[in-house]
């Protein structure tokens, strides 16, 4: 009996079973929930409402603000992380002295649980008891890092602190596995460092950069801990993000149907971006 199943599928079975149980089933369930008015406190009144939850989101200003905030956050954080990460990876690759210690140090933040990072910076940057505002104060600078104007950018800065190491890790691994010949050829031709970087390193590294940016962006869309630890979406709606809003709507107010719809809108948008990006990359590759 077992022999009749193609070998590939025998290897695939454990993955398929676990995947179906923990991912596919909840996913479909969630999709169904988003089409109902499921509320924990009024479970008996649950009924199918079609796309009402989705159309309701169109008029929800806080939700729109959360979408905008999330995208601004992802765009800024990932671009900064890529630039800084690339610069650091290039430096680390050519470093000789204290090589392993430096690497271990610079990779450290990505291993720290994000809630701890959020809390650390909440108090480092706090206006009354934080050390950074106090140091800036001695230079006459008064900055409220979690005020309405700066709060979102402070979140970006914290994300950059924690996740640039991830970029460094992937880019460094990429740099170290590049073939040697093109670089020797460039040196023989007398190409300047900048020219070598632009026309040899960057094109060769591009696949790695794409993967790194993709992984980081997908993760940044899930930003929750910093908001939860520091601002709880405030001041006003300045740092409201999708993930935090789903948490509040679903767990705080028990409106699980609406929370599911909120999450799916984000999925649709992210999926569209990824598919468009992939199509373009595939076309470039051929």
């Amino acid at each position: 009996m077992l022999r009749r199943i193609p070998i590939g599928y025998r290897f695939l079975t454990p993955l398929a079973v676990v995947f179906a149980a923990v991912f596919a089933y909840p996913f479909v369930y969630s999709l169904w929930l988003s089409l109902t008015n499921y509320t924990i406190t009024r479970r008996n009144e649950t009924r199918f409402v079609g796309i009402d939850q989705y159309t309701g989101l169109l008029d929800n200003d806080t939700y729109r603000q959360a979408l905008v905030n999330t995208f601004v956050f992802v765009l800024l954080a990932v671009s900064l992380e890529l630039l800084l990460g690339l610069a650091l990876a290039l430096c680390l690759q050519r470093q000789r002295w204290a090589r392993n210690v430096t690497r271990a140090f610079l990779l450290a933040p990505m291993f720290v649980t994000p809630i701890a990072v959020g809390l650390m910076f909440r108090f480092l940057l706090n206006q009354q008891i934080g050390v950074i505002p106090e140091i800036l104060g001695t230079f006459g600078l008064e900055i409220d890092f979690f005020g309405p104007d700066l709060a979102l950018f402070s979140m970006v800065a914290i994300d950059v602190w924690q996740w640039t190491p991830f970029m460094v890790l992937l880019l460094l691994a990429g740099l170290e596995s590049l073939p040697k010949q093109p670089f020797e050829a460039a040196r023989v031709d007398g190409a300047s460092r900048w020219l070598t970087f632009r026309s040899v390193t960057l094109p060769l590294l591009k696949p790695v950069i794409v993967v790194a940016v993709l992984l980081r962006a997908l993760d940044a869309f899930k930003v929750f801990e910093y908001v939860f630890a520091i601002t709880r979406g405030g001041p006003g709606t300045a740092t409201e993000t999708i993930q935090y809003q789903v948490y509040r709507t679903g767990i705080g107010f028990f409106r699980l149907g609406e929370a599911a719809a909120m999450a799916f809108v984000l999925v649709a948008v992210v999926l569209t971006i990824v598919v468009v990006l992939f199509r373009r990359l595939m076309r470039e590759a051929t």
Binding site: I7, G8, Y9, F11, L12, P14, L15, V17, V18, F19, V22, F23, P26, F27, Y29, S30, A87, L88, C91, Q95, N100, T102, A104, F105, L106, L107, A108, V112, T113, P114, I115, A116, L119, M120, F123, L124, I129, W161, P165, L169, L170, A173, S177, P207, L218, F221, K222, F224, F228, Q243, V246, Y247, G250, L256, A259, A260, A263, L266, V267, L271
Partner: protein, 266 residues
């Protein structure tokens, strides 16, 4: 960039990374009175914060986090490695299988947490580590599988054909010839998966915020608006940071090498 400039850049980066850690260490030894003056360096160190934290359930939470991480990674490694081999070698499941893995990776936890919450609520599994393990599988399993597909793609096919000529069966060739080839990658994927599980707050907070709290949840419970908890919170943060930092010192070389072995494909 010239050499001194590169060195300067690295020094700045190291300071930027080290400063917050150093400051939290400092705060964790300050008494409540000394905390009112954030930048003062002259104070009498106290261990009160540390003993409060170590007797306050943080260690139990850390142990629970380790259990959750190990269970999640073990299941992911077994199912993910076998599955990745099937997808890489036999094109099992075809395009949909690969797409499913990618889809799972970009799924925000917000989508899955709602149904998981209801299911565990109905099955009376809320507030147990089983709920957290199942939830962590939703993101660790796809990442591990995705990594492993890349590693298997990089193993030359001739290797296992030779093994089968030498008398190994399909599974024997996989276990004795292919698997050793991807071992560094397997290690990197395991470390990566464990870190993801260890760091998660969202699922753990919602599915098991009470009796089965993991370390991130325990740390977040020090998050009050009263400044008086600052010292204890710093100590709690360090409990979560120190073991991981020590581990990262040992694994960073392996991680760089493991990932450059072929985990970076799309």
């Amino acid at each position: 960039m010239s050499r001194p400039l590169r060195a300067l850049f690295l020094v700045i980066a190291v300071v930027a990374v080290a400063f917050p850690f150093a400051w939290v260490v400092l705060i964790s030894f300050k008494s409540r009175v000394d905390l009112n003056d954030p930048s003062s360096l002259s104070f009498t160190p106290t261990s009160a914060n540390w003993s409060e934290v170590l007797h306050g359930g943080v260690l139990e939470a850390a142990l629970r986090s380790v259990e959750v991480g190990l269970a999640t990674v073990s299941v992911s490694l077994v199912a993910g490695t076998l599955g990745a081999y099937a997808i890489s070698r036999f094109k099992a499941g075809g395009g949909p299988a690969r797409f499913g893995i990618l889809l799972a990776q970009l799924m925000p936890p917000a989508v899955l947490v709602v149904p998981l919450f209801i299911l565990f609520f109905n099955w009376n599994l809320r507030d147990t580590i089983w709920a957290v393990i199942a939830a962590h599988l939703t993101f660790v399993l796809p990442v591990v599988t995705w990594f492993m597909i890349g590693f298997f793609d990089a193993v030359p096919r001739e290797l296992e054909e030779q093994a089968m000529i030498d008398g190994y069966g399909r599974f024997g060739a996989f276990r004795r010839v292919v698997l050793p080839q991807v071992l560094p990658g397997l290690g990197a994927a395991a470390i990566f998966g464990f870190v993801l599980s260890w760091n998660d707050l969202f699922y753990a907070l919602i599915l098991a915020g009470g009796n089965a709290e993991t370390l991130p949840v325990a740390i977040s419970s020090y998050n009050t608006f009263r400044g008086v908890e600052l010292g204890a919170m710093s100590a709690a943060i360090l409990v979560s940071v120190v073991p991981v930092l020590i581990a990262s010192f040992f694994v960073q070389k392996r991680l760089v090498r493991g990932i450059s072995g072929g985990g970076l494909k799309y």
